[in-house]
């Protein structure tokens, strides 16, 4: 593995991180939005969201990325590979995060809401000041766990030609006829990236637990 190869792998790693972080940044709030629709039991929408989430959760990322990349142009929407990759991962993340947010919302103590309502707090303020901080804290471990899962399916975007870490490693292996070293480097990249998320989760959980006992 020479310098050029290291550079290609580094570029791949940067793409992996960029695709994942963008998808997380888009998918997490969208998931919260869907969870709120289900939580407030908007008539009609509730069932549609539940069905969509169930379908998306059952769909492999590879299949979804192929659909997004090849089907959107047939309805006149040409999007670049990278954007198609981000959109796909964000859709999956949205579906999983919806369930996580919903679980946190369902576990939210009802009496706090009643109290806030009794004090005449408007709906938006109630959500922002009372609900969100608490459900965010409760959902955090599951959200971080979901982020690591997203990074692990992110190589799916290689299928439509986005050169992320895995695809970069495959190309180097094919060019040098020695696949093991680039694969091991790619593996190390994932271990570092995912390890960083898991370590953050551990720290946050510990802080949370200490906070609960304090």
């Amino acid at each position: 593995v020479g310098n050029a190869e290291y550079l290609a792998l580094a570029a791949g790693a940067a793409n992996t991180i960029a695709v994942s972080v963008l998808a997380i940044a888009i998918g997490t709030p969208l998931g919260l939005g869907l969870a709120l629709i289900r939580w407030s039991q908007v008539r009609g929408l509730d069932g549609i969201v539940a069905t969509l989430v169930s379908l998306l959760r059952a769909t492999p990322a590879v299949t979804l990325v192929l659909l997004v990349y090849f089907a959107l142009p047939t309805v006149g929407l040409e999007i670049p590979r990278f954007a198609a990759g981000v959109a796909t991962l964000a859709l999956g993340s949205m579906a999983y995060n919806c369930e996580i947010w919903r679980a946190a919302l369902l576990a939210f103590p009802r009496d706090q809401l009643d109290a806030a309502r009794a004090f005449g707090m408007p709906r938006g303020l109630r959500f922002r000041l009372v609900i969100l901080p608490q459900i965010a804290r409760a959902a955090l471990p599951a959200l971080v766990n979901e982020m690591t899962l997203l990074i692990k399916v992110s190589p799916a975007v290689a299928v439509i030609g986005v050169t992320e870490a895995t695809r970069a490693a495959v190309r180097i292996g094919a060019a040098t006829y020695d696949p093991i070293p680039p694969f091991l480097i790619a593996l190390a990249i994932y271990v570092v990236v995912i390890g960083a998320f898991v370590a953050t989760q551990r720290v946050l959980e510990r802080r949370h637990r200490e906070g609960a006992f304090a």
Binding site: S54, L55, R57, A58, T59, P60, A61, V62, T63, L64, L66, L67, F70, A71, T74, V75, T148, I151, K152, V153, S154, P155, A156, A158, V159, A165, T166, A169, V170, G173, D178, P179, I180, F183, A186, L187, Y190, V191, I194, G195, V198
Partner: protein, 219 residues
């Protein structure tokens, strides 16, 4: 355009069905093998041989940081470097089995850790040791508690199997992609594949519910 896509898919229904059955068989075989291998790894994880248990726990943690697609490539392109030559279908099944066995061993360990110690100590007191202790005393409650998680892992295996398209295993996504490329009906073919994956996952979920009610009834 969409009616045309459905028409094409209807003409290609045999190909689609064969892709679906391939996915079904691969997932089923990998699930059984991963379950058995996962059980063995779990037995080693909780064994008294500390060095083995620690090394294995470390390996499993490592595996949980590896994307399945990378692992799949590693098996497919890596094994020949060690003189082991296998076909793409075999490589895919091995990759699915080993990868998910690590997750299954870990989720069983989670169930074991949450188990009350009294039952196991009682088993010891009644003279259960080694394999008999594992099979008769430890495994039944651990498996019972792990049923929903094992169902989730089964869904994961089904979804992971789509990654085998990269090593040209002719499963559902591969078939959908071939039909899409030949007849230019991406929307219909991939949505059809998605619906079939969905059906599989819903069947697993229903199966989990049935097993749970059966377990509840026998308790």
């Amino acid at each position: 355009m969409i009616p045309h896509g459905i028409e094409v898919l209807w003409e290609q229904r045999d190909a689609m069905l064969s892709g679906f059955l391939t996915t079904l068989v691969i997932a089923a075989v990998a699930a059984v093998c991963a379950g058995l291998l996962g059980l063995m790894l779990f037995a080693l994880l909780i064994s008294r041989v500390r060095a083995v248990a620690l090394a294995l726990a470390w390996l499993i943690d490592l595996m949980r940081c590896v994307p399945f697609m990378l692992f799949c490539y590693l098996i497919y392109y890596g094994l020949p470097s060690f003189g082991i030559v296998i076909g793409n279908l075999m490589a895919g099944i091995i990759a699915l089995t080993v990868y998910n066995a690590a997750y299954i061993a870990e989720l069983l360990r989670g169930g074991y850790v949450a188990l009350p110690r009294e039952g196991i100590e009682a088993g010891h007191a009644f003279g259960f040791h080694g394999w008999r202790l594992l099979l008769r005393i430890i495994l039944p409650p651990v498996l019972l508690a792990s049923i929903p998680m094992l169902g989730n892992q089964m869904v994961q295996i089904i979804k992971d199997s789509a990654f085998l398209v990269i090593i040209a295993v002719q499963e559902l996504t591969f078939t959908a992609n071939e039909i899409q490329a030949t007849y230019y009906v991406p929307f219909a073919s991939f949505v059809c594949a998605m619906l079939l994956y969905w059906a599989l996952c819903l069947m697993v979920e229903a199966g989990v519910r049935v097993v749970l009610t059966m377990a509840e009834a026998r308790r």
